[in-house]
Amino acid sequence: MIVNLGFGALLIAFILCIYGAAAAAYGARDGRDPWLASARSAMLLTFPLLTLAALSIIYALVTFDFQLDYVASVTSRSMPTYLRVTALWGGQAGSLLFWAWLMSAFASAVMLRDWRRDREFLPWVILVSLVTLGFFLALIIFFENPFARLWQGVTGTVFAGVWQPAGAIPYIPIDGNGLNPLLRHPGMIIHPPMLYLGFVSFVIPFAFAIAALITGRSDDRWIRLTRRWTLWAWLFLSLGLILGSRWAYDVIGWGGYWGWDPVEIAAFMPWLTGTACLHSVMIQEKRGLFKHWNMLLIILTYDLVIFGTFLTRSGVLSSVHAFAQSAIGPLFFVFIAATLLLSLYLLNRRWESLKAEGEMTSWLSREALFLVNNLLFIGILVVCFWGVVFPLITEASGAIGEWFPSLRGIFSGQRITVGPLFYERATGPLWAGLLLLMGIAPLSAWRASTARTLGRAIWKPFAISLLVLAGMLIGGLRSFGALLGLWLCAFVLLVTAYEFWRGMRARAARGENYFAALANLMARNRRRYGGYIIHIGVILIAIGIIGVEFFQTETQGQLAIGESLEIADYRMEYESLSEWNTNDNRLVDRAVVSVYKDGVFLRELYPRRDYYYESQQAMTIPGVRSTIEEDFYVLLVEWEEISASRATFKIYHSPLINWIWIGGLVFVVGNLIAAWPQAEAYDARLRRTAPAGARAEAG
C-alpha cells in the first residue's frame, strides 16, 4: 500500500514537471503571472511528492519488502537498519530517485526566496530546474524504476515489472542479495549524499545563468544571486570528495586515498570547473570582465555534473558496449548534448551584450593571475576528461578498423587502461603552478600591479619561505619534487598568515586588541578571509599528499607466528589468527599483530578479511596506527587455512597522510565562513547605507 502510494507520488511529480515547465515558459511574458505562480507551485509540490516516494522506498527497504526488485537486490535480512536505510543510494534505481529528491529539495528552496526584484528570472529558473528534474524522473519511471516488482511467469521464469503481467504471480524471495560490501561502511552514510548534494546544487547557478541569457541581463546580477549557492554546492562536492578519499583509505585496502579511478574523476571534474568559476566570478564582480567565460564555466559545470552521473550510471566505464546496451546511457548522452548545444546557442546569441566592461592592463594584476589560475584548472580538467574518455574512444574506434581493414593496425578497438601514473605526471606541474598562484595572487592588486609593487608586497613571506627551504635542505631532504612542493606550501602559508597579520595590524592600530581585530576582520569580510582559510586547508591537504606521494613505503612478506616484518622505524610481529562466523552472514578472519617502534611496544592491531556469503565478496579491512606525523597501516593478504601458522601481511608507512583529512576539516570551516548566510544581511546593510550611485552599481 505505502509502496503504491510512493509510486503514485512519483508519477504525479513527473506530470507536474512537464506541466510546470510548460506553464513557466508560457507565464514568462508580462501579464501572465497566474501561470507563473502555478508553475512555481508545481515546482514546490515536487518536493513533498518525491519525499513520499523516497520514504516509501525506505519503508520497503526497512521492512524487507522483497517483492520489490530493488529491495531484493540491495538488502538482506542480516543487514542492520541503518544500512537498509542507506541502501536507498546503494543501487542504480534508488540512487537516481535520491538524486531527484535532493534536486527537488534544492529547487524548492530557491522558490521560497523573495522573487519580487528578480521576477524576470523566475520562469526560466523554474523551467531549467523542472526540465532537469523531469529528465531524471523519466529515467526512473521508464527505465530504472525502484518500484518494479518481481513476478513469476507461467513458465516459471522470474522477471521484474511495474505492472502485473497476465498470468504472472507475485514472486517474493526468502532473502535479498544484500548491499555491496564496499558500501557497508559508516562513510557511505554521508559520502554519497554529500556528492549528490554538490551535484544537484550546481544546477541552481546554471538555472540562473540560463535565465540571464534568455532575458538578456548582461550585468552580474545572476552571479550575486547565486554566489552563495555556488559556494554551498562547492562545499558539498568538496566534502563528498574528501569523505570519499577517507572511505577509500579505510575500505579498499590499498593504503591510498585517491586512485584516479574514473568514478572519482567523474565527481572531480565539476569540482574543477566549479573552483575555476568561483575565482573568475570575482573578476566579473570587481571589474566587469570575463562575462562569457563565467557563463561557459557554469554551463560546463552543469553538463559535467550530468556527465559524471552518466559515467557512473550508464555502465559506459565497463565497456562502450555496455553503454550501448543500457537503456539510460544513450538518453543521458542525448540530454547532455542537447543542454550543452542549447546553452552554447543562448550564449552565442548574447555574445555582444556580454562584452567586457573594462580591459586588463597588467600581467601581474589579480585578474590576470586569476585567469592563469583558470587556465591551470581547465588544464587539469582536460587531463581528467581525456584520461576517462580516451579508453572509450580507442574501444569504439574498432568500428573504423572493421570498415577499413587496412587501418586495423591503428584502430584496433583494443581497450586500454589509463592508470594513476598518467594523471599524476600530467597534472603535477599544473598543481604546482596553482600553489604558486595561491601564494602570489592574494598580494597582487586589482587593475594595475607592477613587478615592483608586487615584489614590495611579497618579499617578506618569500624570504622566510626560502629560509624554510634552506632548513629542509640542511635537514637532509633531497627529493626535488618534495622540496618544491613543501617550499610552495610554506610560501602560501606564510603569505596567508601575512595577509591576516596585515589586516589585524590595521585594525589594532584603531585600538582593537588582536583577537577582536581577527574576529572583526573575518566577520566584515567573510568571503575573503573564509577564502584564505580554504587556502590553508588546501595547503594542509597538499602537505599530506606530498607526504604520501614522495615518502610512502611498503613491504610485504609471509610470516610464521612469532616472526616479524620491518618498515621505517616500525616492526610488526605476527601473534595469531582466528576465524569466526557473524550474525550478519560474514566469515571473519582476523589476525593479531603487535607493533613496535624503535623497539618499544606500541599496541596491537587487528587486520582482517571479511567474506560476505550473500554477495560472495571479500573485504580487506586494515589495522591502522594513526598519528599526526604518520600512519602504520597493515593488511592481511593471505594465510594458511586451518593451521594459520603462516600468514602474509602487507604494511605501509605513510608519513603526513592524516594532514589530508585535517586539511579537509579546515577547508570545510573556511567554506562555511565564506558561505554563511549572515553575510547577505551584512551586504544588505551596506546597500542601505551606501550612496545611491554605489547602490545602483551593486544591484
Binding site: W254, G255, T361, L375, V382, I416, G557
Partner: protein, 160 residues
Amino acid sequence: MRRLILALILGLLLGFLFGYTASAVLAQGEEPPAPSDNEVNAIAKNLYCPVCENVPLDVCPTQACIQWRAQIGDLLAQGYSEQAIYDYFVAQYGDSVLASPPARGLNWLIYVVPPVAVLLGAVLLYRRMTIWRQAEELAAPQATTSDYNQRVEDELEARR
C-alpha cells in the same frame, strides 16, 4: 697398524670424494631463491587484470588476482625480465592489462592532447592579454594621462 692407517686414509679419501660429488650434485639441483613478495608487487603495481576494473593487481584481493601474482612470481623465478613479464601478459590479455598505455598507434593521442591543449590555452590567453593591453593603451594615451596628472600635481602644489 699400517693397515689401520691405510684404511683411515682410504676412508677419508672415499668420504671426501663422496661428499664432493654429493655437494656438486646438490648444487646442480638447487633452485634459485624464490622472488620476494616485494619483487612481485613492484611488477603487479603496473598491471590490471581485465575483470577487476581500476584495481591495480598488487592490491586486488580476488582469487584471480592472487593467481596472477603467483604467476608473476613463477615467471620471475624462470628468469623473465620485468619487460618480458609485461609482454607476456599483454600477449595473453591485450593492452588493457598495462597501467600506462603503450605509446603506439592511436595511443599517442593520450599523451599528446593534454599538453597541446594547455599550450594552446596559454597562447590564446597571451594573445587576448596583448589585445587588451593594446586597447587600453589606445583608449588612454600616455600623454593625456601625464597631462592630467601634471595638472593635478600643479594644483595640489598651488594649494600647499
